[in-house]
Structure formats: C-alpha cells, structure tokens
Symmetry: C2
Subunit: 151 residues, 2 copies
DNA sequence: GTTTAGATTGTACTTATTACAATATTGTAG
DNA sequence: CTACAATATTGTAATAAGTACAATCTAAAC
C-alpha cells in the first residue's frame, strides 16, 4: 500500500517481479506468510491469519494468487488425504511426511537421484512429489505415553 | 445376489473375506471393476460404469465401500492436481505419473529402497507415494506433431 | 488529472464428498 | 420356515473447497 510497507518486503517484492507478477499489497502478504510460516498452510489458514490484520481481504484473492504462484513456479501444491490443498515454497527439493493424526506436513530431507530426472519411461517430468503418510514422532510418543498410563 | 453370481467372483470374494469385509454384491462389483480396469478410476467413473448394468446402485455405496477398502488396506487413494480422488489396488509398490494434459495416471516401475523403510526421521511410515507430474509420452508426441504441421 | 490495465472483492455457483435416516438384505437361532 | 438382529444399501440433504463472474478499486503511464 504505502512505499514504506513495500520497502519492508523488498526480498519478496523482488521475487515477484522476477517472475513478472505485480507485487501488490495482498500478494506480498500472502507470500510473506508462507515464507515466514514454513508449515505448509492451506488457503483457509492463510486467509484467516492475514485477514486478522487486513479485514478487507477476500478469500478469492487468496485462492487467485496461490494459483498464480503455483503456475509461475513459486509454490508447489500438496494434496493429502484430506480434500484441502496445502502450499509450499519451491526451493531445494525435499519429501514430505503427512501425519494422519495431527495433519501436519513435515519436511523430510531425502537425497534421491529422482529429483534430477527430467523424464521417466518417455514421460516428460515437470514435478516430483514424494509423500510419506503415517504417524509422526510427536503423535507416536503421545500414544506410547497413554498406553503406559493404562498399564 | 445369487449364489451363481458370487461364484463368478470367487477370487475377489476371498480377498474381501480375508479382510473381514462381507462380500456383498455391490462390493464385489466395485472391487471387480478396479481389478479389471487398472486405470486408477475415480468414484464417479466407477459409479457410472457399474450403474450401467446395476441401475439401482447408489453413489453413496460406492463412496462408502471405497473408503472401507482404503481403511482395510485393499486400495490406496491417490490425489492429483484436481480435486477428485482416484483409486489403485495395493499390490507391488510402484510410482505414478500424472499427465497434466490427459489426466491419466500411469504406473511407473521404480525400484527404490524407499518402499521398504517403515520409519523416517522418527516418523512411523504407513504408506509411501511417489508421484511425477508432467506431460505423458502420448500427449508429448501429439504436441510434437502439431508443431511440425505448423512449420 | 485522465485513462487504462490489472487486482481485489463479494456473491453465486460447482463439484466431490459426507451425514443421516429410511429401507432392504443377510445370517442366525428358535 | 420364521422372526430377529446386524449390517448394507439407498436417496436426499448438507458440507467444504474451490471457481466463475461482474462490479469496484488501484496504481502507474501518459
Ligand atoms: Mn516442505
Ligand atoms: Mn498404479
Ligand atoms: Zn502427528
Ligand atoms: Zn497425457
């Protein structure tokens, strides 16, 4: 909105410009949110959090811009068990662990040659997603404790 | 429905029984469809195809039973770019290629040690999904042809 | 300051899926 | 065989995530 505000987001501003996306106020806020909260948020979570400080924000704006960011290769969209889409910054390739209990998506560093292939069995690869599903460390420990208490 | 019909599906019948699922007429048809059409169908596709011969079939039955099959470990649910869930038999582990053009999900044989791990970084793994996205061989060739014609 | 392209907003709509209650089918015990 | 209980199926209504679209707003170029 103001020049001062834009100044604060210099880094994100440059990223958007480099991808030919006009760095609007809302776009910067959305990008900033994802960059600073690397927890693979959904559109709804992003909307709720930003609209606390910007009550005029529209859900449509969030959806629109997330789609633009994905198309332009800034974000990747992650689908889990549930029906909602979640978002992650595209930077160094990594895998994800989706916890069926707490619904968190946890980064998993995994060095596999897969990420470098640009075609497989004749099909042209644009993106690779490796997703584990199960019970995360936290939830597993909690369950263990409960079991012990019962004994 | 009839004993005769059950007989035809002996193999699928046994599979369901072994998982403690009652082998109802509808369940056998759904399982049979997925087993015989290994093209990762959606609930809607399964519904449309089976209801051609069984017009009384309800969408809810299809959804219910697909969910049961997933919970019991007979099927895995695959999420793509689009919002619909697609289904695959759990047998030998393999990866998938999702074509962004024709929306087909193509099996990719990929021998990676990943499949055998049962935990990663302390998180308990129940399932691994490797999904490539891009343009499949078919669609890529079609595009090539078009480009040639233009020249 | 006007113009104009593009961004945002709010509402209505779509699509996939689930909740739920009524009905139907099955398997079992008398 | 018949009655009963347990489970499955069905149809409708509801939900949830996301998209279409038209009106309004913004910004930056002239
Ligand atoms: Mn991540
Ligand atoms: Mn497959
Ligand atoms: Zn967890
Ligand atoms: Zn294709």
């Amino acid at each position: 909105m103001t020049d001062r505000h834009y100044g604060v987001h210099g880094e994100f501003r440059d990223l958007l410009c480099s991808k030919n996306i006009k760095p609007s106020y809302q776009r910067l806020l959305i990008l900033e949110y994802i960059m600073k909260n690397k927890n693979h948020p959904s559109a709804e979570i992003i909307f709720k959090n930003i609209s606390r400080s910007v009550p005029t924000l529209s859900r449509t704006t969030v959806y629109n811009n997330l789609n633009i960011f994905v198309r332009k290769g800034i974000l990747s969209s992650i689908k889990t068990n549930k029906s909602e889409t979640r978002y992650d910054i595209i930077e160094i390739p990594h895998a994800h662990f989706y916890c069926l209990q707490c619904k968190r998506i946890i980064d998993v560093d995994l060095k596999i040659p897969l990420y470098r292939k640009n075609s497989i069995q004749g099909h042209k690869i644009e993106e690779v997603q490796v997703q584990f599903r199960g019970t995360c460390r936290n939830c597993f420990n909690k369950k263990e404790k409960k079991t012990k208490n019962v004994l």
